[in-house]
Amino acid sequence: MSSVKTKRDVLGTSSLRPDGGAKVKGDFAFTSDLHAENMLWGATLRSPHPHARIVSIDTTAAWKIAGVECIVTADDVPGQLTYGLISSDQPVFAKDVVRYMGEPIAAVAADHPETCRRALAAITVVYEVLPVLFDPELAIGDDFEPIHPDGNLIRQQRIVHGDTSVVGDVIVEGHYVIGMQDQAFLGTESALALPDADGQGVEVFVATQWLHEDQKQMAACLNLPTERVRLVLGGVGGAFGAREDISLQVHTALLALRTSRPVKMQYGREESFFGHVHRHPATVWMRHHATNEGKIVKIEARFVFDGGAYASTSAAVLINGVTHTQGPYKCPVAVVDGYAVRTNNPPCGAMRGFGVVQACFAHEGQMDKLAAAVGTDPVSIRLMNAMETGDLLITGQPVESVAPVARLIRETNEIPLPPDLAIDANELDLPGGSGITAERKHIRRGIGWGVSIKNIMYSEGFDDYSTARCTLSDGKVVLKFATSEVGQGFVTLAPQIARSVLGVTDAVCDTIDTQIGSAGSTSASRQTWMSGGAVDGACRLVRERLFELVGAQQNIEPIRFAIEDDEIVDTAGTFRMSVIEASQGITISETFEHHHRKTEELDENGQGNCHVAFAFVAHRAVVDVDPELGLVKVVQIATAQDVGQVLNPLSVLGQIEGGIAQGLGLAVMEEIIVQEGRVRNPSFTDYLLPTALDAPVVVARMIEEYEPQAPLGAKGVGEPPCISVTPAIVAAIRDAIGKDIDRCPVRPQDICL
């Protein structure tokens, strides 16, 4: 990025991405761009059935194809046969039974992707098709034979809080359905595995969210010591939760170890739809009790999250869902039942918003129902119930985070509404765009609201710490961490922190790999807080040592020193020296682990301080709808987001706009269609993503209130933008057409039939 000035880009500035130049030139090495001498290609054979017994697997014909070097099945897995983030319940390769369409059965390594394709086609698997458990409700009771030794119920959680005998003056009730969304990162799954010469270890370049977790699971399956599975972050083309689970990591490494050659695996788009977990489809029932004015007095709810065939993070998604039942509102009493179940549908796990998206869609639908029932408007009902710092959640946990909910709603409400749709509007500005013939005179406009609360960091007692090392030498800083850069911009933020703390200009990030302690996952909006805290801590330790050194030289108490711009200054005297000069010829290196405060597990009544901290956001959507054709155009999204301290305004804006587009996708277009366990639309032709023409005008306000608990005063900003925008858009559609719609995404038939 030669022509771009990065000098003294400290915290609070819109420092530019250090990888931006390489990315615009096509020079940045995504994992899929990597090559190795003598490399083979790997590919995966997947089940065409959602549920079947494997009678036999015959690889004889495939082995005979010229160019095929290796074929592996479950019998070839040297270590643990299963993996998983929370429970190890997912087979590396299916052995006796397949439990979802697309489950891996075998993998091949060959000289060309086309040879791989032919080899896969030449493997004969005989299946005995089994009844498919596709209805999550059937998975709750004993109505269906267990489809897995661990049973069909992944987790159940009840929340009982307050005097449950309370009955409201006004009661509103709704059933809500949330469809299965795909993360649809652009860079599909990819890995390059390089076997060690002695065959006892492997180095793997992989696009992942959490190097150390992959390493741990891989080592167990490969039966290797952890340190012999060395992971390096290959360039990552987006993540959004889909790279938290193992996909091709074990397969690629196993093929490399078996062939003693480098092996690269890369999923195509269709395979990617089968190769990673999705957002849980869910059904949510809620009943809100309120006073005649509209103050919430009790909420009853029931959640069913369809986890698909394997557990992944379903248990944690469930807890996030049920513990966010009330939304960003005061609620003294609650009775909630939640279930995460196993079915023969595609496995579901992490996606941006992680269980809270589903809860929010339901509680925001309820708030509008409540407003209507008590004869008020969507803004007033939300302001009346808005949560504040110090309020208790339905888990009994006090909200200690800054909680400017009322301010978010007010500030969003102050943003001017867009102009009316012009009488002679261009067809591209109409719902449906140029392809479909909406007529201006049919179009109706609607306005809707959504407000949300989102926990940040991991919950329920999990210590998701992060590690960083700072090395200062000759005025230059090198930062080392295992924090996955997936596009969010931690590689921009980390040097900003170093510049601020140490007064340097030149700060760079070292290779991101497992040659340092874990950073935890790039998820749960946690890296600014956790890895930011780790980098900050390491830089502060280095600063202390630098002050000690300079203090000894100058005979000044180190405590008197401070960094001012790029100098060390004596706050009680006249001495000043540039950091560059002070650090000439010396090297100071310090490592720091940042831990967040401890959290607790929930008890059987769902009580406990299970979350670390919270962030809030408000969204107002304006839509145009053609009620006859069932078409929607999202015109404007106004938003105010609780971000804590803004560390990089441009990065925060990017997260806000990007999250809104994904929430828009869930509102009106994105859904993996699954019929009796079969995925019907695994392609970008049939799974529709927001394009430039779908992008609404976004008017965003960052509400800056320093978060005292956070190491840099900043809250995570990644997830909130995508959470309440979905219910806001759906509410706007309801407002436009005057019809109750209880599901997302909203399909044309939901509008016009």
Binding site: S2, L16, R17, V24, L186, L653, G658, L689, A692
Partner: protein, 162 residues
């Protein structure tokens, strides 16, 4: 699967010999895997995402949909050809400064699409920009900063002209 035949592709003004290739290989595959030009990305390989955008005889096309062997007579330009002199183009520069890059997977394709748009139309309306870029999916940015980058280039070029 390979053939004994070979063919030549002219990419960024340089002739490249392609031998031992399977005849069904897409231009995207050949660029990336045989010619060492991985700047063009593949995110769908069915013409839906635009991350593989290249110019063939000046037309912006999805290289995943073109059989490489069918492009022998053509001038092919890829993102790697934009920086022959080592400096960023105005479009690339604006993508960096305006925050249009997050993961960057869509970026080379979008940079090509924006160059193509602005070569044909030096002052596109907002709708013309949106339409021109609607074949390039970006999953990270929500497009806001990409529009800002386009606006910036238009403004700078206009300033440079006046």
């Amino acid at each position: 699967m390979s053939t004994n035949e070979f063919y030549s592709l002219k990419v960024n003004g340089v002739d490249h010999h392609v031998s031992d290739a399977w005849i069904g290989e897409s231009l995207l595959y050949v660029l990336r895997e045989r010619l060492g030009l991985p700047g063009s990305k593949g995110a769908c390989e069915q013409g839906e995402c635009g991350s593989c955008t290249v110019f063939i005889d000046g037309a912006a096309v999805c290289s995943c949909l073109v059989m490489a062997a069918s492009a022998v007579e053509s001038e092919i330009a890829t993102v790697e050809g934009l920086n022959a002199d080592g400096t960023l183009t105005d479009v690339q520069e604006a993508f960096v400064t305006e925050g249009a890059v997050q993961c960057g997977f869509c970026t080379p394709g979008l940079v090509m699409a924006v160059h193509h748009l602005l070569d044909e139309n030096d002052s596109p309306s907002e709708l013309e920009v949106k339409e021109a870029l609607s074949g390039n999916i970006c999953r990270c940015t929500g497009y806001g900063r990409i529009f800002a980058a386009v606006d910036k280039v238009v403004a700078v070029r206009r300033g440079a002209l006046s």
